[in-house]
């Protein structure tokens, strides 16, 4: 018994990133408790600084091959480490953009903001490297429960409360549905470990039903179309920094986990979930695009845009190959910089003027040329216009799907790219061409968000040309 316990504790040796994050979490919590009223300013630097250190230390972790701990409960590999590092970068960028909001409007609760955000990040870590449905479920809920508290952060704001109510109720419902699926999987396969489920999966009707329930639950988290109804309202009502976090990190982590579970647990009968996913992708991309056209609020607009982007991410999942995994992670990586650049500009302008409508952005180029320029880059990259990073990520993900013979699907996705170009250019048109009587006055950004926007801009401009990143991802990815 003692020997097995020693094995058990040796499992912590490969959980470097999680343990670092837990240390940062406890440090931020204690700092928030004991720094007091005067130390609020230092608290921000403590939180951002310690988390930046954790981010840097994450890049030193490397395993070579696949590793597992706690009898296969926790699985990690270089790919998992890379995904966690990507999540770290995104969270750090969100902290940069949220700095101004935390300094002024949200001054009294900034400690809670950092603590809750890092808690959700810990949940995503566990979810990403789970090897068992129990750890997966705990990670998922650790990611989504504090997220609801974050969405409700503006306590006096009606929209925030409404968005949070919608988010928590749909999240709880979807995890209930998913749990029912998992319980049926357990009943029919006799285990909760992904690899044992894969061995016992015979394509029985009850197992297919269970898989559909499971996919429905994940669809809620990634906001694929039949399950997307909460997305727009939640994105609009939540504080802008939280919306940015929700749209990139939550979606990216859930998409990668979904991919891992489909590859590991359901790889014996790929045609079943590929058929379901085919229809989901078509509907997701189309509905997301069509609804995005008529939005007047920029946060709502980006919500529908992110729904259609989730559809594109699923193109990499459906192929089921190592190339699919590479292109999915690459897509998430590029999408992070692109979407965060857009949200950075929006949160800057919203913090200082309170305007988020599309019409308010008329004539932005005249007063804030730099912001208009970065927003244009982000929109071009989201639409997939060639020299920018978004083009390369879209290209690779189409290539991954086409490699598996999904030509019709790629064709539909390409058609939708043209529709999406139309509405992304609407924003550009508003900023550069439309005239306005009272445009947004020239705003002065704070240093933190300038750093963040700079990183995002560099990412959009040159990431597509740095081929070692893609080659590194190819070397560590794995298929079904």
């Amino acid at each position: 018994m003692i020997e097995t316990l020693k094995d058990y504790y040796s499992g912590f040796a490969i959980m470097n990133q999680e343990l670092t994050l837990v240390l940062v979490l406890i440090f931020v919590l204690l700092a928030d408790l004991f720094l007091g009223e005067k130390g609020k300013k230092n608290l921000q630097f403590a939180a951002i600084g310690s988390f930046a250190l954790a981010t840097i230390s994450g890049f030193t972790v490397s395993f070579g091959g696949s590793q597992e701990a706690f009898a296969g409960m926790y699985v990690t590999s270089d790919m998992h480490v890379l995904v966690k590092n990507i999540l770290n970068i995104g969270t750090l960028l969100v902290f940069f953009f949220a700095h101004y909001w935390n300094k002024n409007e949200n001054r009294n609760q900034s400690g809670e903001f950092y603590f809750l955000t890092l808690s959700t990040l810990l949940g995503m870590y566990l979810m990403v490297s789970s090897g068992n449905f129990i750890l997966f479920y705990i990670g998922l809920e650790t990611a989504s429960i504090p997220m609801a508290a974050l969405v409700a952060f503006n306590k006096k704001n009606r929209d925030s409360a409404e968005a949070a109510a919608k988010y928590i109720l749909t999240a709880a419902f979807s995890s209930g549905v998913m749990l029912f699926g998992i319980s049926l999987i357990y009943g029919s396969c006799g285990s909760l470990y992904f690899d044992e489920v894969a061995n016992a999966f015979q394509g029985l009707p009850v197992q297919i039903l269970a898989m559909v329930f499971f996919m429905a639950g994940m669809g809620f988290k990634i906001s694929l179309v039949p399950f997307h109804l909460w997305t727009a309202d939640t994105y609009q009502g939540a504080p802008t920094s939280v919306t940015a976090y929700l749209s990139v990190m939550s979606k990216g982590a859930a998409a990668f986990t979904f991919l891992c579970i489909l590859f590991k647990a359901f790889h014996n009968y790929p045609e079943i979930w590929q058929n379901i996913l085919w229809w989901i992708i078509v509907v997701t991309i189309t509905v997301g695009n069509l609804f995005a056209i008529r939005q007047k609020n920029l946060k709502r607009f980006l919500a529908f845009s992110s729904i259609s982007q989730a559809g594109y991410i699923m193109l990499g999942v459906i192929s089921g190959s190592p190339l699919g995994m590479t292109s999915t992670v690459y897509y998430i990586f590029i999408y992070l910089f692109t979407n965060l650049a857009a949200f950075g500009i929006i949160s800057n302008i919203e913090n200082q003027t309170g305007k988020v409508g599309m019409d308010d952005y008329n004539g932005l180029y005249g007063t804030n040329p730099k912001s208009a320029f970065i927003m244009t880059l982000a929109m071009f990259s989201l639409g997939g216009i060639p020299p920018f990073a978004g083009f390369f990520s879209k290209f690779f993900i189409f290539a991954a799907a086409a490699e598996q013979g999904q030509y019709l699907l790629v064709f539909i996705a390409l058609l939708n790219t043209i529709i999406s170009l139309y509405y992304y250019l609407l924003v550009v048109k508003a900023m550069f061409i439309n005239k306005s009587e009272n445009p947004i006055p020239t705003i002065k950004s704070d240093n933190m968000s300038i750093i963040g926007l700079g990183i995002c801009t560099i990412g959009i401009l040159i990431l597509g040309f740095i081929s070692p990143i893609y080659e590194y991802m190819t070397s560590i990815s794995f298929g079904m």
Partner: protein, 117 residues
């Protein structure tokens, strides 16, 4: 008699006895009604205000805190069952778990959630 017959006899007897007691009481008891009798009883003193009162919203914080700490201790049961065979290392795990819980309580305390306002 078999057990089924005993059950039926006991069941019928019970119904007859109870309903007989109620019917006899209804027939022979004296009746009087006045306004005071319809009021809710509150230790002898006439009730003031409405008895349909709302609880202070401040209670919910205590309810939530209680709920959390009450349910989280469920996790101690699986450990308690095999405590001896797990030994010191199992104890360390549980102590860390309790440390996290205490951290939560300290947080609530410091933020003033336990103060009665």
């Amino acid at each position: 008699m078999s057990s089924g017959e005993i059950f039926i006899v006991v069941f019928i007897t019970a119904i007859i006895l109870v309903s007989a007691a109620l019917v006899i009481a209804m027939l022979i008891s004296p009746r009087s009604t006045n306004e005071q009798k319809g009021e809710p009883y509150e230790c002898g003193i006439p009730t003031r205000g409405t008895s349909w009162m709302q609880f202070k919203i401040g209670y919910y914080l205590f309810a939530i805190l209680f709920l959390m700490f009450d349910v989280e201790t469920v996790l101690l049961f699986p450990w308690a069952v095999i405590m001896k065979s797990l030994g010191v290392m199992g104890l360390c795990s549980v102590l860390f778990f309790l440390f996290i819980l205490v951290l939560g309580l300290a947080y609530a305390w410091k933020k003033g959630a336990l103060e009665w306002k």
